[in-house]
Symmetry: D2
Subunit: 131 residues, 4 copies
Protein backbone atom coordinates (compact mmCIF):
# COMPACT_ATOMS: atom_id res chain seq x y z
CA UNK A 1 0.00 0.00 0.00
CA UNK A 2 1.20 3.48 -0.80
CA UNK A 3 1.11 4.89 2.72
CA UNK A 4 2.69 2.10 4.82
CA UNK A 5 6.21 3.36 4.15
CA UNK A 6 5.22 6.98 4.82
CA UNK A 7 3.70 6.05 8.19
CA UNK A 8 6.88 4.21 9.25
CA UNK A 9 9.08 7.07 8.01
CA UNK A 10 7.13 9.79 9.87
CA UNK A 11 6.82 7.85 13.15
CA UNK A 12 8.76 9.65 15.92
CA UNK A 13 10.41 6.44 17.19
CA UNK A 14 10.55 4.14 14.22
CA UNK A 15 13.66 2.24 13.34
CA UNK A 16 13.51 1.01 9.77
CA UNK A 17 13.89 -2.72 9.74
CA UNK A 18 14.53 -4.51 6.50
CA UNK A 19 11.44 -6.37 5.41
CA UNK A 20 9.06 -4.71 7.87
CA UNK A 21 7.09 -2.63 5.36
CA UNK A 22 6.87 -5.54 2.94
CA UNK A 23 5.58 -7.80 5.73
CA UNK A 24 2.92 -5.32 6.87
CA UNK A 25 1.66 -4.95 3.29
CA UNK A 26 1.73 -8.70 2.71
CA UNK A 27 -0.33 -9.31 5.89
CA UNK A 28 -3.07 -6.84 4.92
CA UNK A 29 -3.16 -8.12 1.33
CA UNK A 30 -3.26 -11.76 2.45
CA UNK A 31 -6.09 -11.00 4.90
CA UNK A 32 -8.16 -9.42 2.10
CA UNK A 33 -7.39 -12.23 -0.34
CA UNK A 34 -8.24 -14.98 2.17
CA UNK A 35 -11.57 -13.35 3.13
CA UNK A 36 -12.43 -13.13 -0.58
CA UNK A 37 -11.26 -16.69 -1.32
CA UNK A 38 -13.34 -18.20 1.53
CA UNK A 39 -16.35 -16.39 0.12
CA UNK A 40 -15.60 -17.42 -3.48
CA UNK A 41 -15.23 -21.08 -2.39
CA UNK A 42 -18.61 -20.83 -0.67
CA UNK A 43 -20.19 -19.79 -3.98
CA UNK A 44 -18.66 -22.71 -5.93
CA UNK A 45 -20.92 -25.61 -6.87
CA UNK A 46 -18.48 -28.05 -5.25
CA UNK A 47 -18.45 -26.33 -1.87
CA UNK A 48 -18.49 -29.70 -0.04
CA UNK A 49 -14.96 -30.40 -1.28
CA UNK A 50 -13.73 -26.95 -0.24
CA UNK A 51 -14.46 -26.98 3.49
CA UNK A 52 -10.80 -27.32 4.45
CA UNK A 53 -9.90 -24.48 2.08
CA UNK A 54 -12.60 -22.22 3.55
CA UNK A 55 -11.51 -22.99 7.12
CA UNK A 56 -7.84 -22.30 6.39
CA UNK A 57 -8.74 -19.11 4.52
CA UNK A 58 -10.73 -17.85 7.51
CA UNK A 59 -8.05 -18.68 10.07
CA UNK A 60 -5.34 -17.19 7.85
CA UNK A 61 -7.36 -13.98 7.40
CA UNK A 62 -7.87 -13.50 11.16
CA UNK A 63 -4.21 -14.24 11.93
CA UNK A 64 -2.88 -11.97 9.14
CA UNK A 65 -5.10 -9.09 10.35
CA UNK A 66 -3.76 -9.39 13.90
CA UNK A 67 -0.18 -9.70 12.65
CA UNK A 68 -0.46 -6.69 10.31
CA UNK A 69 -1.83 -4.69 13.24
CA UNK A 70 0.95 -5.70 15.65
CA UNK A 71 3.65 -4.96 13.03
CA UNK A 72 2.17 -1.53 12.29
CA UNK A 73 3.14 -0.33 15.77
CA UNK A 74 6.64 0.94 16.61
CA UNK A 75 6.31 2.18 20.20
CA UNK A 76 7.69 -0.01 22.99
CA UNK A 77 7.77 -3.17 20.90
CA UNK A 78 8.03 -6.44 22.81
CA UNK A 79 9.94 -8.58 20.34
CA UNK A 80 9.03 -11.90 21.96
CA UNK A 81 5.35 -11.22 21.26
CA UNK A 82 6.09 -10.05 17.71
CA UNK A 83 8.18 -13.13 16.93
CA UNK A 84 5.51 -15.51 18.26
CA UNK A 85 2.75 -13.81 16.26
CA UNK A 86 4.80 -13.61 13.04
CA UNK A 87 5.63 -17.32 13.49
CA UNK A 88 1.92 -18.14 13.78
CA UNK A 89 1.26 -16.05 10.67
CA UNK A 90 3.95 -17.88 8.72
CA UNK A 91 2.37 -21.21 9.73
CA UNK A 92 -1.17 -20.09 8.77
CA UNK A 93 -0.01 -18.73 5.39
CA UNK A 94 1.96 -21.90 4.64
CA UNK A 95 -1.00 -24.17 5.44
CA UNK A 96 -3.47 -22.04 3.47
CA UNK A 97 -1.16 -21.73 0.45
CA UNK A 98 -0.59 -25.51 0.38
CA UNK A 99 -4.36 -26.15 0.39
CA UNK A 100 -5.19 -23.42 -2.17
CA UNK A 101 -2.52 -24.77 -4.51
CA UNK A 102 -4.36 -28.10 -4.73
CA UNK A 103 -7.37 -26.23 -6.20
CA UNK A 104 -5.46 -23.67 -8.23
CA UNK A 105 -5.68 -25.63 -11.50
CA UNK A 106 -9.45 -25.27 -11.73
CA UNK A 107 -10.25 -22.24 -9.56
CA UNK A 108 -8.44 -19.01 -10.30
CA UNK A 109 -9.32 -17.40 -6.95
CA UNK A 110 -7.39 -20.18 -5.20
CA UNK A 111 -4.42 -19.50 -7.52
CA UNK A 112 -4.43 -15.79 -6.65
CA UNK A 113 -4.94 -16.52 -2.96
CA UNK A 114 -2.10 -19.06 -2.90
CA UNK A 115 0.21 -16.40 -4.35
CA UNK A 116 -0.80 -13.90 -1.65
CA UNK A 117 -0.26 -16.54 1.05
CA UNK A 118 3.19 -17.52 -0.28
CA UNK A 119 4.18 -13.84 -0.51
CA UNK A 120 3.13 -13.34 3.12
CA UNK A 121 4.78 -16.57 4.27
CA UNK A 122 8.05 -15.43 2.66
CA UNK A 123 7.76 -11.94 4.14
CA UNK A 124 7.22 -13.42 7.61
CA UNK A 125 10.25 -15.71 7.18
CA UNK A 126 12.47 -12.80 6.10
CA UNK A 127 11.28 -10.62 8.97
CA UNK A 128 11.86 -13.39 11.52
CA UNK A 129 15.47 -13.57 10.32
CA UNK A 130 15.90 -9.87 11.24
CA UNK A 131 14.19 -9.60 14.65
CA UNK B 1 -3.66 -3.67 -3.48
CA UNK B 2 -2.71 -5.71 -6.52
CA UNK B 3 -4.94 -8.71 -5.88
CA UNK B 4 -8.26 -7.12 -4.83
CA UNK B 5 -9.41 -6.73 -8.44
CA UNK B 6 -8.28 -10.26 -9.32
CA UNK B 7 -10.26 -11.75 -6.43
CA UNK B 8 -13.43 -9.91 -7.49
CA UNK B 9 -12.92 -10.89 -11.13
CA UNK B 10 -12.41 -14.60 -10.39
CA UNK B 11 -15.32 -14.89 -7.91
CA UNK B 12 -18.02 -17.21 -9.33
CA UNK B 13 -20.86 -14.83 -8.41
CA UNK B 14 -19.35 -11.40 -8.42
CA UNK B 15 -21.05 -8.51 -10.09
CA UNK B 16 -18.61 -5.67 -10.66
CA UNK B 17 -19.91 -2.58 -9.01
CA UNK B 18 -18.33 0.75 -9.76
CA UNK B 19 -16.26 1.89 -6.84
CA UNK B 20 -16.27 -1.43 -4.96
CA UNK B 21 -12.61 -2.35 -5.49
CA UNK B 22 -11.48 1.18 -4.69
CA UNK B 23 -13.53 1.14 -1.48
CA UNK B 24 -12.14 -2.23 -0.32
CA UNK B 25 -8.57 -1.00 -0.88
CA UNK B 26 -9.27 2.32 0.83
CA UNK B 27 -10.70 0.52 3.89
CA UNK B 28 -7.65 -1.74 4.33
CA UNK B 29 -5.24 1.15 3.74
CA UNK B 30 -7.10 3.43 6.14
CA UNK B 31 -7.12 0.70 8.83
CA UNK B 32 -3.33 0.32 8.53
CA UNK B 33 -2.73 4.06 8.52
CA UNK B 34 -4.97 4.68 11.55
CA UNK B 35 -3.31 1.90 13.58
CA UNK B 36 0.09 3.42 12.76
CA UNK B 37 -1.06 7.01 13.46
CA UNK B 38 -2.49 6.10 16.90
CA UNK B 39 0.84 4.51 17.73
CA UNK B 40 2.86 7.45 16.36
CA UNK B 41 0.75 9.91 18.40
CA UNK B 42 1.45 7.79 21.49
CA UNK B 43 5.19 8.26 20.93
CA UNK B 44 4.94 12.07 20.57
CA UNK B 45 6.11 14.22 23.49
CA UNK B 46 2.74 16.01 23.49
CA UNK B 47 0.64 12.87 23.82
CA UNK B 48 -1.72 14.57 26.30
CA UNK B 49 -3.00 16.83 23.51
CA UNK B 50 -3.47 13.89 21.15
CA UNK B 51 -5.93 11.74 23.11
CA UNK B 52 -8.85 12.58 20.85
CA UNK B 53 -6.73 11.83 17.78
CA UNK B 54 -5.64 8.45 19.21
CA UNK B 55 -9.21 7.52 20.10
CA UNK B 56 -10.57 8.42 16.67
CA UNK B 57 -7.66 6.59 14.98
CA UNK B 58 -8.44 3.43 16.94
CA UNK B 59 -12.19 3.53 16.28
CA UNK B 60 -11.61 4.31 12.60
CA UNK B 61 -9.17 1.38 12.29
CA UNK B 62 -11.61 -1.13 13.82
CA UNK B 63 -14.51 0.13 11.71
CA UNK B 64 -12.48 0.18 8.46
CA UNK B 65 -11.30 -3.39 9.08
CA UNK B 66 -14.87 -4.63 9.53
CA UNK B 67 -16.06 -2.68 6.49
CA UNK B 68 -13.22 -3.93 4.27
CA UNK B 69 -14.07 -7.47 5.34
CA UNK B 70 -17.81 -7.13 4.64
CA UNK B 71 -17.16 -5.53 1.22
CA UNK B 72 -14.74 -8.33 0.26
CA UNK B 73 -17.60 -10.83 0.20
CA UNK B 74 -19.88 -11.25 -2.85
CA UNK B 75 -22.06 -14.23 -1.91
CA UNK B 76 -25.65 -13.56 -0.77
CA UNK B 77 -25.01 -9.91 0.06
CA UNK B 78 -27.58 -8.22 2.30
CA UNK B 79 -27.42 -4.65 1.03
CA UNK B 80 -29.11 -3.10 4.08
CA UNK B 81 -26.26 -4.37 6.29
CA UNK B 82 -23.62 -3.22 3.78
CA UNK B 83 -25.14 0.25 3.51
CA UNK B 84 -25.32 0.67 7.31
CA UNK B 85 -21.69 -0.46 7.78
CA UNK B 86 -20.35 1.69 4.91
CA UNK B 87 -22.26 4.66 6.39
CA UNK B 88 -20.60 4.08 9.78
CA UNK B 89 -17.24 3.84 8.01
CA UNK B 90 -17.82 7.13 6.19
CA UNK B 91 -18.67 8.77 9.54
CA UNK B 92 -15.56 7.36 11.29
CA UNK B 93 -13.26 8.39 8.43
CA UNK B 94 -14.73 11.90 8.32
CA UNK B 95 -14.32 12.41 12.08
CA UNK B 96 -10.78 11.03 12.11
CA UNK B 97 -9.70 13.06 9.06
CA UNK B 98 -11.07 16.26 10.59
CA UNK B 99 -9.11 15.66 13.80
CA UNK B 100 -5.87 14.58 12.05
CA UNK B 101 -6.02 17.69 9.84
CA UNK B 102 -5.78 19.92 12.93
CA UNK B 103 -2.37 18.32 13.70
CA UNK B 104 -1.16 17.91 10.12
CA UNK B 105 0.87 21.13 10.11
CA UNK B 106 3.33 19.87 12.73
CA UNK B 107 3.01 16.07 12.54
CA UNK B 108 3.49 14.41 9.17
CA UNK B 109 1.92 11.10 10.25
CA UNK B 110 -1.35 12.97 10.88
CA UNK B 111 -1.08 14.52 7.40
CA UNK B 112 -0.64 11.10 5.78
CA UNK B 113 -3.39 9.59 7.93
CA UNK B 114 -5.82 12.42 7.12
CA UNK B 115 -5.25 11.75 3.40
CA UNK B 116 -6.01 8.02 3.85
CA UNK B 117 -9.16 8.87 5.85
CA UNK B 118 -10.40 11.37 3.23
CA UNK B 119 -9.70 8.85 0.45
CA UNK B 120 -11.74 6.22 2.34
CA UNK B 121 -14.52 8.68 3.22
CA UNK B 122 -14.82 9.59 -0.48
CA UNK B 123 -14.77 5.93 -1.56
CA UNK B 124 -17.56 5.13 0.94
CA UNK B 125 -19.63 8.06 -0.34
CA UNK B 126 -19.23 6.97 -3.96
CA UNK B 127 -20.10 3.36 -3.13
CA UNK B 128 -23.19 4.40 -1.18
CA UNK B 129 -24.40 6.23 -4.28
CA UNK B 130 -24.26 2.91 -6.20
CA UNK B 131 -25.80 0.40 -3.79
CA UNK C 1 -18.44 -11.23 30.99
CA UNK C 2 -17.31 -10.81 34.59
CA UNK C 3 -14.77 -8.05 34.05
CA UNK C 4 -16.58 -5.66 31.67
CA UNK C 5 -18.30 -3.84 34.52
CA UNK C 6 -15.07 -3.67 36.56
CA UNK C 7 -13.18 -2.12 33.64
CA UNK C 8 -15.85 0.57 33.18
CA UNK C 9 -15.98 1.25 36.92
CA UNK C 10 -12.18 1.63 37.30
CA UNK C 11 -11.73 3.81 34.18
CA UNK C 12 -10.55 7.30 35.19
CA UNK C 13 -13.04 9.07 32.90
CA UNK C 14 -15.94 6.71 32.55
CA UNK C 15 -19.48 7.88 32.87
CA UNK C 16 -21.79 4.95 33.50
CA UNK C 17 -24.42 4.89 30.83
CA UNK C 18 -27.44 2.69 31.19
CA UNK C 19 -27.18 -0.28 28.86
CA UNK C 20 -23.51 0.22 27.95
CA UNK C 21 -22.09 -2.80 29.77
CA UNK C 22 -24.90 -5.03 28.54
CA UNK C 23 -24.28 -3.88 24.96
CA UNK C 24 -20.51 -4.52 25.14
CA UNK C 25 -21.11 -8.04 26.47
CA UNK C 26 -23.82 -8.72 23.89
CA UNK C 27 -21.47 -7.64 21.06
CA UNK C 28 -18.62 -9.94 22.15
CA UNK C 29 -21.01 -12.85 22.75
CA UNK C 30 -22.75 -12.34 19.40
CA UNK C 31 -19.38 -12.20 17.59
CA UNK C 32 -18.36 -15.54 19.14
CA UNK C 33 -21.73 -17.14 18.43
CA UNK C 34 -21.81 -15.96 14.80
CA UNK C 35 -18.26 -17.21 14.11
CA UNK C 36 -19.26 -20.60 15.56
CA UNK C 37 -22.60 -20.70 13.68
CA UNK C 38 -20.97 -19.95 10.31
CA UNK C 39 -18.57 -22.81 10.96
CA UNK C 40 -21.34 -25.17 12.14
CA UNK C 41 -23.39 -24.38 9.02
CA UNK C 42 -20.34 -25.18 6.90
CA UNK C 43 -20.21 -28.66 8.46
CA UNK C 44 -23.90 -29.41 7.79
CA UNK C 45 -24.76 -31.80 4.96
CA UNK C 46 -27.11 -29.17 3.47
CA UNK C 47 -24.49 -26.40 3.27
CA UNK C 48 -25.78 -25.30 -0.16
CA UNK C 49 -29.00 -24.06 1.47
CA UNK C 50 -27.10 -22.23 4.22
CA UNK C 51 -24.98 -19.84 2.15
CA UNK C 52 -27.04 -16.80 3.13
CA UNK C 53 -26.86 -17.82 6.80
CA UNK C 54 -23.06 -18.24 6.63
CA UNK C 55 -22.64 -14.87 4.93
CA UNK C 56 -24.82 -13.04 7.46
CA UNK C 57 -23.06 -14.81 10.35
CA UNK C 58 -19.67 -13.68 9.04
CA UNK C 59 -20.72 -10.07 8.47
CA UNK C 60 -22.46 -9.93 11.85
CA UNK C 61 -19.35 -11.32 13.60
CA UNK C 62 -17.03 -8.72 12.03
CA UNK C 63 -19.44 -5.86 12.77
CA UNK C 64 -20.08 -6.98 16.38
CA UNK C 65 -16.33 -7.24 17.04
CA UNK C 66 -15.74 -3.68 15.80
CA UNK C 67 -18.75 -2.38 17.77
CA UNK C 68 -17.71 -4.12 21.00
CA UNK C 69 -14.25 -2.60 20.60
CA UNK C 70 -15.54 0.94 19.99
CA UNK C 71 -17.95 0.71 22.96
CA UNK C 72 -15.17 -0.54 25.28
CA UNK C 73 -13.43 2.84 25.04
CA UNK C 74 -14.44 5.81 27.22
CA UNK C 75 -11.81 8.44 26.41
CA UNK C 76 -12.81 11.29 24.09
CA UNK C 77 -15.81 9.50 22.66
CA UNK C 78 -17.18 10.87 19.38
CA UNK C 79 -20.86 10.04 19.71
CA UNK C 80 -21.69 10.44 16.03
CA UNK C 81 -19.27 7.63 15.19
CA UNK C 82 -20.58 5.45 18.05
CA UNK C 83 -24.20 5.95 16.99
CA UNK C 84 -23.45 5.10 13.35
CA UNK C 85 -21.54 1.94 14.30
CA UNK C 86 -24.16 0.77 16.83
CA UNK C 87 -26.84 1.36 14.17
CA UNK C 88 -24.91 -0.83 11.71
CA UNK C 89 -24.57 -3.48 14.43
CA UNK C 90 -28.31 -3.42 15.13
CA UNK C 91 -28.97 -3.89 11.40
CA UNK C 92 -26.49 -6.80 11.10
CA UNK C 93 -27.89 -8.55 14.19
CA UNK C 94 -31.48 -8.13 12.99
CA UNK C 95 -30.70 -9.55 9.54
CA UNK C 96 -28.69 -12.48 10.95
CA UNK C 97 -31.32 -13.31 13.59
CA UNK C 98 -34.10 -13.29 10.98
CA UNK C 99 -32.15 -15.73 8.79
CA UNK C 100 -31.04 -18.01 11.67
CA UNK C 101 -34.65 -18.22 12.90
CA UNK C 102 -35.71 -19.81 9.60
CA UNK C 103 -33.31 -22.71 10.34
CA UNK C 104 -33.79 -22.85 14.11
CA UNK C 105 -36.38 -25.63 13.96
CA UNK C 106 -33.91 -28.20 12.62
CA UNK C 107 -30.50 -26.81 13.61
CA UNK C 108 -29.91 -25.98 17.26
CA UNK C 109 -26.82 -23.85 16.58
CA UNK C 110 -29.00 -21.49 14.53
CA UNK C 111 -31.47 -21.33 17.43
CA UNK C 112 -28.70 -20.38 19.90
CA UNK C 113 -27.19 -17.92 17.42
CA UNK C 114 -30.55 -16.27 16.74
CA UNK C 115 -30.97 -15.71 20.49
CA UNK C 116 -27.52 -14.09 20.73
CA UNK C 117 -28.30 -11.87 17.72
CA UNK C 118 -31.68 -10.79 19.14
CA UNK C 119 -30.08 -10.04 22.51
CA UNK C 120 -27.45 -7.87 20.78
CA UNK C 121 -30.01 -6.19 18.52
CA UNK C 122 -32.07 -5.26 21.61
CA UNK C 123 -29.00 -4.03 23.50
CA UNK C 124 -28.03 -1.84 20.53
CA UNK C 125 -31.55 -0.42 20.35
CA UNK C 126 -31.59 0.40 24.08
CA UNK C 127 -28.16 2.00 23.90
CA UNK C 128 -29.13 4.12 20.89
CA UNK C 129 -32.05 5.47 22.93
CA UNK C 130 -29.53 6.74 25.56
CA UNK C 131 -26.77 8.30 23.46
CA UNK D 1 -20.05 -16.44 28.08
CA UNK D 2 -23.32 -18.36 28.33
CA UNK D 3 -23.53 -19.54 24.74
CA UNK D 4 -19.98 -20.73 23.99
CA UNK D 5 -20.65 -24.19 25.40
CA UNK D 6 -24.01 -24.43 23.60
CA UNK D 7 -22.41 -23.58 20.25
CA UNK D 8 -19.74 -26.28 20.70
CA UNK D 9 -22.34 -28.83 21.84
CA UNK D 10 -24.67 -28.21 18.88
CA UNK D 11 -21.92 -28.18 16.21
CA UNK D 12 -22.34 -31.17 13.84
CA UNK D 13 -18.65 -32.08 13.98
CA UNK D 14 -17.41 -30.86 17.30
CA UNK D 15 -15.28 -33.00 19.52
CA UNK D 16 -15.27 -31.63 23.05
CA UNK D 17 -11.74 -30.98 24.11
CA UNK D 18 -10.95 -30.29 27.71
CA UNK D 19 -10.19 -26.64 28.20
CA UNK D 20 -11.43 -25.48 24.79
CA UNK D 21 -14.53 -23.63 25.99
CA UNK D 22 -12.64 -22.02 28.84
CA UNK D 23 -9.91 -20.87 26.43
CA UNK D 24 -12.40 -19.37 23.96
CA UNK D 25 -14.11 -17.43 26.76
CA UNK D 26 -10.78 -16.31 28.23
CA UNK D 27 -9.64 -15.00 24.81
CA UNK D 28 -12.79 -12.91 24.25
CA UNK D 29 -12.73 -11.60 27.83
CA UNK D 30 -9.02 -10.76 27.65
CA UNK D 31 -9.53 -8.93 24.34
CA UNK D 32 -12.27 -6.78 25.89
CA UNK D 33 -10.27 -6.12 29.05
CA UNK D 34 -7.11 -5.17 27.14
CA UNK D 35 -8.98 -2.77 24.83
CA UNK D 36 -10.52 -1.13 27.91
CA UNK D 37 -7.20 -1.04 29.82
CA UNK D 38 -5.32 0.61 26.93
CA UNK D 39 -8.03 3.26 26.84
CA UNK D 40 -8.06 3.71 30.64
CA UNK D 41 -4.24 4.13 30.63
CA UNK D 42 -4.63 6.78 27.93
CA UNK D 43 -6.93 8.76 30.24
CA UNK D 44 -4.50 8.62 33.21
CA UNK D 45 -2.56 11.78 34.08
CA UNK D 46 0.70 9.79 33.92
CA UNK D 47 0.16 8.46 30.41
CA UNK D 48 3.86 8.99 29.51
CA UNK D 49 4.83 6.22 31.94
CA UNK D 50 2.17 3.86 30.54
CA UNK D 51 3.24 3.66 26.89
CA UNK D 52 4.55 0.12 27.22
CA UNK D 53 1.37 -0.94 29.00
CA UNK D 54 -0.81 0.59 26.25
CA UNK D 55 1.23 -1.09 23.51
CA UNK D 56 1.10 -4.51 25.15
CA UNK D 57 -2.64 -4.11 25.82
CA UNK D 58 -3.27 -3.33 22.15
CA UNK D 59 -1.17 -6.22 20.84
CA UNK D 60 -2.71 -8.62 23.35
CA UNK D 61 -6.24 -7.53 22.36
CA UNK D 62 -5.61 -8.10 18.64
CA UNK D 63 -3.95 -11.46 19.25
CA UNK D 64 -6.68 -12.66 21.66
CA UNK D 65 -9.41 -11.69 19.18
CA UNK D 66 -7.75 -13.71 16.40
CA UNK D 67 -7.15 -16.66 18.74
CA UNK D 68 -10.72 -16.67 20.07
CA UNK D 69 -11.95 -16.66 16.48
CA UNK D 70 -9.72 -19.54 15.36
CA UNK D 71 -10.67 -21.63 18.43
CA UNK D 72 -14.40 -21.04 17.84
CA UNK D 73 -14.23 -23.10 14.64
CA UNK D 74 -14.45 -26.93 14.66
CA UNK D 75 -14.57 -27.83 10.97
CA UNK D 76 -11.37 -29.18 9.35
CA UNK D 77 -9.09 -27.85 12.06
CA UNK D 78 -5.39 -27.64 11.17
CA UNK D 79 -3.79 -28.22 14.55
CA UNK D 80 -0.38 -26.83 13.58
CA UNK D 81 -1.96 -23.45 12.90
CA UNK D 82 -4.02 -23.59 16.12
CA UNK D 83 -0.98 -24.49 18.22
CA UNK D 84 1.12 -21.66 16.74
CA UNK D 85 -1.64 -19.09 17.32
CA UNK D 86 -2.41 -20.27 20.87
CA UNK D 87 1.34 -20.12 21.61
CA UNK D 88 1.47 -16.51 20.39
CA UNK D 89 -1.58 -15.74 22.53
CA UNK D 90 0.06 -17.26 25.61
CA UNK D 91 3.14 -15.10 24.98
CA UNK D 92 1.10 -11.90 24.51
CA UNK D 93 -0.98 -12.55 27.64
CA UNK D 94 2.12 -13.31 29.70
CA UNK D 95 3.90 -10.12 28.61
CA UNK D 96 0.81 -7.93 29.13
CA UNK D 97 0.05 -9.45 32.55
CA UNK D 98 3.64 -8.89 33.70
CA UNK D 99 3.48 -5.22 32.68
CA UNK D 100 -0.02 -4.59 34.10
CA UNK D 101 1.05 -6.15 37.42
CA UNK D 102 3.71 -3.45 37.84
CA UNK D 103 0.92 -0.81 37.81
CA UNK D 104 -1.72 -2.83 39.66
CA UNK D 105 -0.96 -1.29 43.05
CA UNK D 106 -2.10 2.18 42.02
CA UNK D 107 -4.39 1.55 39.03
CA UNK D 108 -7.29 -0.85 39.51
CA UNK D 109 -7.91 -1.29 35.77
CA UNK D 110 -4.40 -2.73 35.44
CA UNK D 111 -5.15 -5.11 38.32
CA UNK D 112 -8.34 -6.35 36.64
CA UNK D 113 -6.60 -6.57 33.24
CA UNK D 114 -3.66 -8.51 34.71
CA UNK D 115 -6.13 -11.06 36.12
CA UNK D 116 -7.82 -11.48 32.72
CA UNK D 117 -4.42 -11.88 31.03
CA UNK D 118 -3.24 -14.50 33.57
CA UNK D 119 -6.53 -16.39 33.20
CA UNK D 120 -6.07 -16.43 29.40
CA UNK D 121 -2.38 -17.32 29.63
CA UNK D 122 -3.27 -20.30 31.87
CA UNK D 123 -6.13 -21.36 29.58
CA UNK D 124 -3.78 -21.28 26.57
CA UNK D 125 -1.20 -23.35 28.46
CA UNK D 126 -3.78 -25.97 29.44
CA UNK D 127 -5.16 -26.15 25.90
CA UNK D 128 -1.68 -26.54 24.41
CA UNK D 129 -1.16 -29.55 26.68
CA UNK D 130 -4.24 -31.21 25.06
CA UNK D 131 -3.77 -30.52 21.34
Amino acid sequence: MVRTEEMIRTHPRSVRREGLIECIDACFECAQTCIACADACLAESGVQSLLRCIRLNQDCAAICQATGEVLSRQTETEWGVVRAQVSACLEACRACATECETHAGHMQHCQVCAEACRRCEDACRRLLAQV
